[in-house]
C-alpha cells in the first residue's frame, strides 16, 4: 500500500490539542497564513472559506467532508481514508472549532462502501477517547461526525450537488451565490472541504503555518498528494511539493517516454510532451492530484472519446450546454475517428466547447470540454483525414 511520509510523521491529535487552546479566529488565521488551498481541484482558499463560515450567524452549522472522489484518475482520498482517517476526522474537528459547528458529515461515495466499516470503527474509537462528543478533551466543545453514503453520481462531488443529495434530492448543483458557507446543508452555513484539505489542516495546526509554506510556490503552498496512473512504471499515490514540473514528476514514476499527460482528471488539461517543463500549481496547471500518463502508443482520440463518454453519462442534465454539448462533442470525436469530420465542423465543435465553458451552470460543463480542446489544439495533425471505418457516428 502507498505511504505518505509527511502524514506518517504526524503524531495523532496534537493539532487538535493545539486548536483547543486557541480562539476560533486564531485557528482561522493559522490556516489563512499557511496559504492552504482546496485540494479537491478548485483551489479556493481554505482560510477564507473558514473565515466566511465563522462569521456567518446561525445556531446550526455543518462541516461536510467531501469524500465523493469521482474524478477519473483520482484515488488519493481512498488511500488517505484507509490509512489516515484519524487525521481527516481531526481536521474536521478543528474546522468545527474554527467556525463553531457541532455536526459533521463525511459524504462517502457509494463505490467506497467497503471503507465504511473501518471509518465507523475509527469514529467509535474517537468518541471513546473523547476526541468527539459532547465535551471534547474536557474543553467543553461539542462535535460529532456521521457518515452519509453517496449513491453513484459524479456530480455529487460538486459541493452544492453534494448538499442536494444529503437533503434527499437529485444531485443537481445550485446556483452560487448563495455559497454553502452562507446557506448550505438545510440552509445552514456549511463548510465543504475535500478529504486531503482537512488532513492538511490538521497537519498545519500541529506544525504551524510557516512549516507548511516552506515548500511549494508563493501562490500554491505546501505539499500535494498525487494519484498517478496510466502508462508509467510506478503508478500509485505520491506526495510532491506544489510547483513540481511535469517532467520531474514523470521521472519519479517512470513515465519519461509519455507523449501526453492528463492533469486534473477528465475535467483537467491534456499536456503534450512539448510542455512538460510547465509546473503543476494553481498558477500554471491546476490539479486535484490526478495524473494520467499516456505512452507513445496511445491514440489521443480514444482518450477524449472515453472522457466525453464519461461526461455525457455523468452530466446531471439540468442545463442545456452541458447535457447536449457533451453528447455533441462525443459524436464529433466519433466522426473524427471514423474519418468523416470536416474542418468546418471541427471548428464548430471547438466553438461549442468554448460556449459550454461559459454557459454551463457548474464546474462539470465548464470544464468537460477542456480535454477535447487541448487535444484539438496540440494534436491537430493527427486528427484529420483518418481512414474511413465502419463505425459511423
Amino acid at each position: 500500500m502507498s505511504q505518505i511520509p509527511t502524514f506518517n510523521a504526524m503524531p495523532p491529535n496534537l493539532g487538535l490539542q493545539r486548536a483547543l487552546a486557541m480562539s476560533p479566529m486564531e485557528i482561522v488565521k493559522e490556516i489563512a497564513d499557511s496559504g492552504l488551498k482546496g485540494r479537491g481541484g478548485a483551489g479556493f482558499s481554505t482560510g477564507i472559506k473558514w473565515e466566511l463560515a465563522a462569521e456567518a450567524v446561525s445556531d446550526r452549522k455543518f462541516i461536510l467532508c467531501n469524500a465523493d472522489e469521482g474524478e477519473p484518475g483520482t484515488f488519493k482520498d481512498r488511500v488517505i481514508l484507509q490509512e489516515y482517517a484519524d487525521l481527516v476526522f481531526e481536521g474536521m474537528t478543528i474546522a468545527a472549532l474554527a467556525v463553531g459547528a457541532q455536526e459533521g458529515i463525511l459524504f462517502l461515495r457509494g463505490e467506497y462502501t467497503y471503507l465504511r466499516a473501518h471509518l465507523e470503527a475509527v469514529l467509535l474509537a474517537r468518541r471513546e477517547h473523547h476526541l468527539l462528543g459532547e465535551n471534547i478533551l474536557g474543553f467543553g466543545s461539542a462535535f460529532d461526525i456521521r457518515i452519509f453514503m453517496g449513491a453513484g453520481a459524479y456530480i455529487c462531488g460538486e459541493e452544492t450537488g453534494l448538499i442536494e443529495c444529503l437533503e434527499g434530492f437529485r444531485g443537481e448543483p445550485r446556483n452560487r451565490p448563495p455559497y454553502p458557507v452562507h446557506r448550505g446543508f438545510l440552509d445552514c452555513p456549511s463548510v465543504v472541504n475535500n478529504v486531503e484539505t482537512l488532513a492538511w489542516a490538521a497537519c498545519i495546526l500541529q506544525r504551524g503555518a510557516p512549516w507548511f509554506r516552506k515548500v511549494g510556490t508563493e501562490m500554491s503552498t505546501g505539499i500535494k498528494i498525487f494519484s498517478i496512473s496510466g502508462d508509467c512504471e510506478r503508478p500509485g499515490v505520491f506526495e510532491f511539493p506544489m510547483g513540481i514540473t511535469v517532467k520531474e514528476l514523470l521521472r519519479h514514476v517512470g513515465g519519461e517516454d509519455a507523449r501526453a499527460v492528463q492533469i486534473g482528471g477528465a475535467s483537467g488539461q491534456c499536456i503534450p510532451a512539448s510542455q512538460f517543463d510547465r509546473a503543476i500549481a494553481f498558477e500554471d496547471i491546476p490539479t486535484g492530484g490526478s495524473v494520467i500518463v499516456f505512452g507513445p502508443q496511445r491514440d489521443m482520440l480514444d482518450v477524449i472519446e472515453n472522457f466525453l463518454g464519461f461526461f455525457a453519462d455523468e452530466s446531471c442534465g439540468q442545463c442545456t450546454p452541458c447535457r447536449l454539448g457533451n453528447r455533441k462533442l462525443l459524436e464529433g470525436v466519433k466522426m473524427l475517428k471514423a474519418g468523416t469530420c470536416s474542418m468546418a465542423y471541427l471548428n464548430e465543435l471547438c466553438a461549442l466547447g468554448e460556449t459550454m465553458m461559459i454557459a454551463s451552470k457548474c464546474g462539470l460543463g465548464q470544464s468537460s470540454p477542456c480535454a477535447f480542446l487541448s487535444v484539438v489544439r496540440n494534436f491537430r495533425e493527427e486528427l484529420m483525414g483518418r481512414a474511413h471505418t465502419l463505425t459511423h457516428a
Binding site: E71, P72, Y114, A151, G168, R170, G230, N306
Partner: protein, 173 residues
Amino acid sequence: MLMTEREFLAAEIQSLANKYGRSRTSLVPILQEVKRKYHKIDSYAMQVTADLLGIHPVEVNSVVSFYAFLGDRPQGQYVIRLCRTISCAMAEKDRVMRQLENDLGISFGQTTPDGKFTLEWANCIGMCDQGPALLVNERVFTRVTPESVHAILEECRRAFGQHATERKEVHLA
C-alpha cells in the same frame, strides 16, 4: 406481489423511516437499504416511502432515477460493475468485459434469467493504479484478468449453494 410480501415490505420501510427519521434527508438512506435488501425499488416501495416522508411519489421516483446505485430496474443478487474509465480502459478492460459476458451469457446492462448476476458499467471507481478493476456489490477486485473472471463468479456462486456452481468440484478458498 403477494399481499403478505407487500405488507412485509411496507413494514420494513416503516421501520427504516423510524430509524432515520421521517424527513426528506432520510430519503436516500432509506432507498439505499431497500435496494440492498430487495435488489430493486419498485413503484410500491416508492409509494410507501413517499407516504411516510410526506412527499409526492414522483419526488421519490426523481431521486431513484437519478442515482446509478438506486434505479427502479430489478437487479441480480450480485451486481458486477466493471470500471470503464480511462486508466482501466488502457489496462484492457475490454477483455475482462468480453469474458464476463461469455461466462454469464448476458450483455452489459442485463441480468441473468435466474436473477443472480447483473452486469453494469461503472465510471471511475478509484482503482486507477490497479486496473482493470470491478466491484461485486460492495467488494472491490483489482488487476482483474480474463482468467480470473471465472474465479470471481465462482466465489459468488458458492454463496448460492454448491449445486448452483458450474462445476461440482469447487476448491474452497
